[in-house]
């Protein structure tokens, strides 16, 4: 009886520990499945995108590291270029209500319009479910899922961890490189990097 109790609680504790707030999925493994609702109320399931490359971009419009890419229009250009090539680009905001950068669906639509987003959809994730599923830590934090459903890239948007737009020109954009590798049927040369930016405001 006592032993069972101890074993049971040990198992419970192990489970609790095995599911930390930011359990990152592994590159090369199938990307975690999800069904989410975008800012226009449409549902998107990862399963629906089989055969297409999917980019997940974590955003927070008030984060300086996000502004770094949106203010000079770099992120919008990246989104346009990708979606033109048939890539599904989901912009995700896991900011919790009351936290910096949190959006309601209406605010998300307004923001997309004002800043000229070219992503496929904007996913408000105020409960942080998608964020925690992917272990998103920073804004931006980028994930690329290959057409076969495996996670092909996870990490920073580029190799220059600053908040200064002037640094973009010299930086290597890991997402652009990963998309090029996937399009050419090559393995992704840099499949992981350390994400940088503001913390996701769960």
């Amino acid at each position: 009886m006592m032993k069972e109790l101890i074993l049971g609680s040990a198992a419970a504790l192990a489970m609790a520990l095995a599911a930390p707030a930011a359990a990152a999925p592994t590159v090369g493994q199938p990307a975690p499945a999800f069904t989410v609702t975008d800012s226009n109320g449409r549902q998107h399931s990862l399963a629906d995108f089989r055969g297409k490359t999917v980019v997940l971009e974590w955003t927070n419009a008030e984060c300086p590291f996000v502004k770094k890419f949106y203010e000079p229009g770099v992120m919008q250009r990246l989104q346009a270029e990708a979606t033109r090539n048939g890539v599904i680009w989901l912009t995700v905001n896991s900011g919790a209500p009351g936290k910096q950068g949190h959006v309601t669906p209406a605010a998300a639509n307004a923001k997309m319009k004002a800043a000229g987003f070219n992503s496929t959809a904007y996913i408000p994730d105020p409960e942080g479910a998608l964020g925690r599923l992917y272990g998103a830590r920073t804004t931006p934090h980028m994930f690329v899922i290959a057409p076969d459903g495996t996670l092909a890239y996870a990490g920073a948007i580029d190799d220059t961890p600053t908040a200064n737009s002037a640094d973009i020109a010299k930086a290597r954009n890991f997402v652009q490189l990963a998309l090029a590798d996937i399009a050419a049927g090559r393995p992704v040369a840099t499949p992981t990097s350390r994400p940088y930016g503001c913390s996701v405001k769960y």
Binding site: S9, A10, A24, T104, E127, T162, A163, V200
Partner: protein, 708 residues
């Protein structure tokens, strides 16, 4: 005085103008320091960048953690000069929403060496473009500044103020370890062992890896000591593969301050975890700061115990008997000391048992003995007997018996000693305010000071009686003995018998209806025995036989109880009282709810915990509290510790608590608030209102999403 100010002013102005360059940004003050305003050619020049985030904000270490940014420096140096990378001070941890940040709060000085070329002449300006990130718990702001120090080549004479600050920064740097070290990263865990001087004095430690592929940064780290080795074990990074080398800084906290070791390790064998850090300093001695505070809390808690329904009658009767005795000064002192010794020794004995069981991993806490229904039954029969005695059913005489309450009624110091012990034992169901924190701390202290805290509890319990014994003025203020005392004693029987009823209820809930029936049968037998005893006493006859009968009944019943089948655990039905719609406590469920950002009100209770029950019947059961919680979407979670539960014991231990009640509120932002042990409706609804203010936005955004 004036002279000193003048000297100070002169010292300020004597510093070459601009020898330090300062920039005050909105959230950070940064300053470039050089050891000398006139560096010598061909020599290294020590420089430092001081960064001071404003209160509540932080700047970042080299490896900023799960988010954040390393400080970047772009130097513009005179021709031929070069500069080293920064050497960073020891960082600290800062966890927000499960994301680890490696930070500096307050001032941090990053050190570097500028190599001055041998042929340098004249002006030698240092220019630095600094970019850094400064954050509080909500937002991050990148800041930058250009700092400039217009040095001139000279003799290399040090600038006293700058040198002092740089020396202090240098002394606080992590010290490199010469010893080759090993680490293990396998099966999802990471372990490293680092030789540390006087490992036993380490109170807390954290390993900060430089790389991303070492540890899961936000996972809790278990620090333990095995001989001279400090062993850190934690979850491994989800980045696969075993790195060839692991570099990082081990932060070590002692009572004497914080230090750091710069560590480089290679894969290899690492000894298993040793003794967990005691969280206290000194090698066993009660030297830890906070010991005095903990001890003080224990004394205060013990003092308040005197007001508890189970203890008050014993104390007041004893005080009264002292007044009645009207005895000599020395007899009063002797009685008071004996009573104090009894209380202290029983508290220490219980404390020693708790410490021993806790050390053996049995998950014991204060009042642990009440998890055993036999103890409950014994206590119930004891309170019944005391109650009947107060009621005048029988009298205690020296010849009555030689144990338990019999001893307590003995005249002289022996009687006082046993009364003190009895008071301490009977007091255990009444965890009072201040006690929980003190006893929790006692469990994490080394055994000797831990026991001292329990002794403090007994001392506090005995304090009123000691005062009466030692302060004649107080004794004189005690009411004059008279016939009223007999009446008063009979009145005091009521709380005592009520305590017995409460214990009967606990017994029933703990061990089922059969056990309750057995207990009531034993109660009847004891009562009959004592009645018989009283009758014989009234006739002036010897009373050994009835006394023995009562005693046998009191001892046989708990023994028989052990033979009864224990009913199945009550499963997930929490105690009837308290908030409706409560879910049972489980660490996994709690973790999940918190991870989802759901607000949770978690409380622990047990049928034998009087304070818990008072709160449950009182503030917690009020409909307005339930309504406020429901409205704010707060999940109520109850841990019932009536019977032993290792999960609850471990949870309490992690929060450094020895006992219950414990009331915790996890808000939707992940913050945890501990509520006081005496709950009020106002405090609870306030918590709910605070949460609702956060939750309103959540609810509306959720609805809007469904509508659109």
């Amino acid at each position: 005085m004036l002279g000193r100010w003048l000297v100070l002013l002169m010292a300020l102005f004597a510093t070459p103008v601009g020898a330090t360059s300062v920039s005050q940004q909105p959230n950070t003050r940064v300053e470039l320091l050089a050891e000398s305003a006139s560096p010598a050619p061909g020599a290294p020049l020590r420089v430092g960048v001081s960064m001071t985030a404003r209160p509540g904000w932080h700047t970042y270490w080299q490896n900023p953690g799960d988010s954040g940014m390393e400080t970047r420096a772009q130097w513009r140096l005179p021709e031929g000069a070069s500069v080293s990378a920064f050497r960073y001070p020891v960082p600290s941890t800062y966890v927000v929403e499960g994301l680890m940040n490696h930070v500096y709060e307050g001032e941090a000085i990053l050190l570097a060496e500028v190599q001055v070329p041998p042929d340098a002449r004249g002006a030698f300006p240092l220019r630095l473009q600094l970019d850094w990130l400064v954050c509080d718990d909500r937002i991050c702001v990148p800041e930058s500044a250009v700092l400039e120090l217009p040095l001139r080549i000279g003799t290399g004479a040090p600038d006293a103020a700058a040198k002092r600050r740089l020396d202090a920064a240098e002394a606080a740097l992590p010290r490199p370890l010469a010893t080759p070290l090993s680490f293990m990263k396998e099966a999802g865990r990471f372990r490293i062992a680092v030789p540390v001087a006087e490992a036993a004095t380490v109170r807390a430690a954290h390993f900060f890896p430089l790389g991303d592929d070492v540890t899961a940064l936000a996972a809790p780290q278990q620090a333990s000591v095995a001989g001279d080795l400090l062993i850190i074990e934690t979850d491994a990074s989800s980045v696969p593969g075993v790195p060839e080398t692991v570099e990082g800084v081990l932060r070590i906290e002692r009572d004497s301050g914080v230090s750091g070791l710069a560590v480089i390790a290679r894969p290899g064998a690492v000894p298993p975890a040793g003794t967990p850090l005691s969280g206290s300093g000194g090698s066993g001695g009660p030297a830890a700061p906070g010991f005095a505070a903990v001890f003080g809390l224990a004394v205060l808690g013990g003092l308040l115990l005197n007001l508890m329904p189970c203890v008050f009658p014993i104390l007041s009767l004893k005080a009264m008997s002292l007044a009645r005795a009207g005895g000599s000064e020395s007899a009063a002192k002797r009685d008071a000391l004996a009573y104090g010794a009894g209380a202290v020794l029983v508290c220490m004995a219980l404390g020693a048992a708790v410490i021993a069981l806790a050390a053996a991993g049995q998950g014991a806490g204060w009042a642990f003995q009440l998890q055993d229904p036999r103890v409950i039954l014994l206590l119930m029969l004891l309170t019944l007997a005391i109650g009947l005695n107060f009621a005048g059913l029988f009298e205690l005489q020296l010849s009555t018996g030689s144990i338990g309450e019999g001893l307590a009624a003995r005249g002289g110091w022996q009687g006082s000693f046993w009364t003190g012990g009895l008071a301490a034992f009977v007091a255990t169901p009444c965890t009072g305010p201040f006690m929980a924190g003190a006893l929790g701390a006692a469990l994490v202290l080394p055994p000797a000071p831990g026991l001292a805290v329990f002794a403090g509890l007994g001392f506090g319990l005995a304090l009123p009686f000691l005062l009466i014994g030692f302060v004649p003025a107080l004794r004189r203020r005690m009411p004059q003995p008279g016939p009223w005392m007999a009446t008063f004693r009979r009145v005091l029987a009521i709380p005592m018998l009520l305590t017995a009823v409460a214990l009967a209820w606990v017994l029933g809930r703990q061990a089922g209806a059969d056990a309750l029936a057995l207990g009531l049968l034993a109660a009847l037998a004891v009562a009959l025995g004592l009645w018989w005893l009283g009758l014989r006493q009234a006739r002036g006859r010897r009373a050994l036989a009835p006394a023995l009968f009562a005693l046998v009944a009191a001892l046989a019943a708990p023994a028989a109880l052990a033979r009864l089948p224990v009913p199945e655990a009550r499963g997930d039905a929490p105690a009837s009282a308290g908030l409706p719609e409560a879910v049972p406590f489980s660490p996994a469920a709690l973790h999940e709810l918190v991870a989802q950002g759901r607000p949770v009100f978690l409380y622990f209770t047990a049928d034998w915990c009087v304070t818990c029950k008072v709160n449950e019947r009182g503030a917690l059961s009020r409909p307005e509290v339930a309504a406020a919680f429901r409205q704010a979407g707060i999940t109520v979670m109850v841990g019932d510790w009536t019977r032993p539960d290792p999960a609850i014991a471990r949870f309490l231990a992690e929060r450094q608590r020895a006992g219950i009640p414990l009331y915790l509120f996890y808000d939707s932002d992940g913050g945890v608030t501990e509520l006081p042990q005496i709950l009020t409706v106002g405090r609870l609804t306030e918590v709910a209102a605070g949460q609702q203010a956060r939750g309103v936005q959540l609810a509306t955004s959720g609805r809007a999403r469904r509508d659109s």
